[in-house]
Subunit: 328 residues, 2 copies
DNA sequence: TATTTTTATGATATCGTTTTCATTTTCCGA
DNA sequence: TCGGAAAATGAAAACGATATCATAAAAATA
């Protein structure tokens, strides 16, 4: 079914049908006839022909490192809600944490298929900057803060600092840090900076043998805790940059007979569903993942409506969730 | 940049450039010139113009009830891997468990944008059947079994039956069931049937006051456990149709001072990351979510390559993961 | 050498819309 | 009653690619 079939059936011109669909001048009688023809044929305009003519795809590309991650899927849920309310569709680019794939998806989406891009960033480098600056369509970066682009992110520094100072204000003297690569500025660098400053405030040293970097996985948390406890067995608290890492740590500690929090206190960040269900429940910082997705989508949609708009930065707060994994 | 710009620059016809891109007859000299022109201009063909002409979008629509769910996001991860290897992209339709949205997305995707559809089903009814049968593009159903369509699903009946019989072969005599609506055939109906048959095999009754239906959430598991334990306080085991529900149940039991498994045994299904980290670790059935996504995508891609292919059904097994939430 | 087959070429139609444009009809106030 | 604005109309161009076609040149075969 094409527009000209409908036109023929309603005995009007193609232009009239197009105007009917898009709200132009059409007489009442023709409106009736066209309406009827459309109902009978079940005509639906070809999205691709429309896109070709109008250059508006009504699709937003979403580039993410990994879909089966609680935090990311929550962000995507927020994006998805906002987009669908605005009549946009969502093209997903799952990069598997592979930078090449990341750049590839950004390029493909830009060149072709989408009106705008939402990019959940992890490790950002010069290549990203160059590419992102060169894109034709507007982009919003989520989870990381970069000067040259619109972004929505959390206050990683203060979240980490406040959490670490809770640890430091207890009786803990030997606080370890389970982090990720500093190439991830938000999670790797800012949270570490917050941690260091909190310890420094409390007059506590940051002991290198208690600072480890790993991946965003439970397994990595487990393994790094093993390493850390082997090289610094008297560690009495562990600050973990994500809940998942914290849960890996708890698993190891439990298996080696350490009591939480009596022997070792644990703190995480993110407030995943799991953190609440742990034994003991994990003290963590709630992050507004879903909201960050919604807000990112909103910013993008505004820019789509009004391309002249300047870049927008949005920092989201956090909420410390006191549970029972820290000895106070 | 369009194909005719490139053609002009290389001083060849548009057809030659098109043939160059798609592998037709082009002389070596022209190939060189075209290659150079493409490099200089950074020309990339317009996907939408191609689609319009060829009718092949290289996009698969994926309709899901909820993205921020561990099982579903694992399925989507599998789909995403398989599609991207085959050069396909993924258009996501997140329905928020709303049937209207579900039908809407299926229609929109069908009418327009995609070559095929993967549909993660929950509650399937006649409307679904009618619509699914009428779609133009091939569809694969995931997570549910329906006669009229290709599908990939787990052996819910036997998984539930085996799990329930583990409960029944212990010293449990009063086994409760925390389920979901029977409109969800896989999770609501089949797992219940497996449960009932296992109890019956063991000569145990299925007591109505120990059978409750709820939602796929932790909160629902929590709340229904409260209800169940209030109306049947002597319940000594709980079969939960998902891990999430089981974890909600554990939360309630723990809060009311019941010991697991000494006072009440618990079983789940799904083997989510959380189940392993619970205290005690949850006995559950491992489901191959990611694999089911991959296989579903494979079936769809095959059908795309070879439209004549008949529907294909694929049942995946499961693996009982014995942990410590059941008193043996 | 003559003939067929393969390779190469570019003009043009086509996909299904929207947009522009020129023209006609209707409406309304002076 | 007239004139100008607003409303209505359809033909045709355009979007950017691929497919078809007719034709020419080169290569292979007889």
């Amino acid at each position: 079914m094409t527009i000209s079939d409908v036109a023929k059936m309603a005995d009007v011109s193609v232009s009239a049908v197009s105007r009917y669909m898009n709200g132009g001048y059409v007489s009442e009688e023709k409106k009736e006839r066209i309406k009827k023809a459309i109902q009978e044929t079940g005509y639906v305009p070809s999205a691709h022909a429309q896109i070709m003519r109008t250059k508006r795809t009504k699709v937003v590309g979403v580039v993410i490192p990994k879909i089966n991650s609680e935090s990311i899927s929550r962000v995507v849920a927020g994006i998805s809600e906002e987009l669908s309310e605005a009549g946009y569709e969502l093209l997903l680019g799952n990069t598997g944490n592979n930078q090449e794939q990341e750049l590839r998806y950004l390029k493909i989406f830009d060149q072709n298929r989408v009106d705008g891009i939402i990019f959940i960033g992890t490790m950002m480098n010069k290549e990203h900057e160059k590419l992102l600056k060169s894109l034709q369509v507007p982009v919003v970066l989520l989870g990381q803060q970069e000067s040259y682009i619109s972004c929505v992110y959390h206050d990683d520094y203060h979240a980490a600092r406040e959490m670490a100072s809770i640890l430091a204000s207890g009786k803990h003297k030997k606080i370890g840090f389970l982090g990720v690569s500093a190439k991830d500025k938000a999670v790797g660098k800012e949270r570490y900076r917050g941690f260091c400053d909190a310890l420094s405030d409390a007059g506590l040293p940051v002991d290198e043998k208690r600072v480890l970097q790993g991946e965003f996985t439970l397994e990595s948390g487990y393994e790094n805790t093993r390493l850390l406890m082997e090289q610094a067995p008297d560690t009495d608290a562990l600050f973990c940059v994500t809940d998942t890492i914290a849960i890996g740590a708890m698993k190891y500690l439990r298996e080696t007979g350490k009591r939480i929090p009596e022997d070792v206190s644990i703190a995480g960040i993110g407030d995943t569903r799991m953190s609440e269900m742990m034994n003991p429940p994990l003290t963590t910082a709630h992050y507004y993942y879903q909201t960050s997705g919604r807000e990112g989508a909103k910013i993008l949609l505004e820019k789509l409506k009004n391309p002249g708009l300047p870049d927008k930065k949005m920092m989201l707060g956090y909420e410390i969730i006191q549970r029972n994994s820290i000895l106070l």
